[in-house]
């Protein structure tokens, strides 16, 4: 089954991103396809922290890691870290349309 994951916030100690990583690893281990992880709002900022970006890159093979362009603008991020793309909400909608499940980490 094909999943799209969204990380909508960055509440204390990056809990949403941590859970998304745990979910991603378990989903792939069970043979499922995660098409995209969409970082939205404050979570875009946490994706830049090197230890977190590194963890995502280690899992990124075959997955789009997308930083929301509007959120990236707000934090003055011009160039995404290696392995990440910057794109608009349309990229999320498109991935959602091609996925059987969209899971939010808030």
């Amino acid at each position: 089954m094909k999943f799209t994951l969204t990380i909508n916030s960055d509440s204390g100690h990056h809990a949403p991103a941590r859970r998304a990583l745990g979910f991603l690893r378990a989903a792939r281990k069970s043979g499922h396809d995660v098409a995209q992880v969409f970082f939205y709002g404050d979570s875009v900022r946490s994706a830049l922290e090197s230890s977190i970006a590194e963890q995502w890159r280690n899992e990124a093979h075959g997955i789009e890691l997308v930083l929301c362009s509007a959120s990236a603008d707000r934090f003055n991020i011009d160039t995404p870290p290696a392995g990440f793309d910057i794109a608009g909400l349309g990229a999320l909608i498109e991935s959602g349309c091609a996925s059987e499940r969209v899971i939010n980490f808030v």
Partner: protein, 117 residues
Amino acid sequence: MSEKHWLFVLQGTPYFDPLVTSGLDAAMAAGAFGQKVSVLFTGAGVLQLLDQQSPPVDSRHVGKTLTSFPLYDIENIYVDQRFWEPFTEQALPLEIAPLAPEAIAHLIASADHVMSF
């Protein structure tokens, strides 16, 4: 892009919760990309539906954003009646359908994807 039914469940206090504008932007984007969009306000999110908001400097006007929803073909606007009841007389000029819990469960079951903010 194919069309799916996206339900946005909006739970944040306007002007005090950063997820509020994220939720509105995401709903409008889904509308702009030709998706079928429903929006449900619940919990503290029902406050987004109040008329007479006075946004702090530098904040986008949530009420005005909502009244532009029909321009994005977002026409199914629901509110959780458990939280809305004390505020009905202060509502934005917008067609808002109050739902009881069973109707909310049905609305959720009718969606392809749910986005929570």
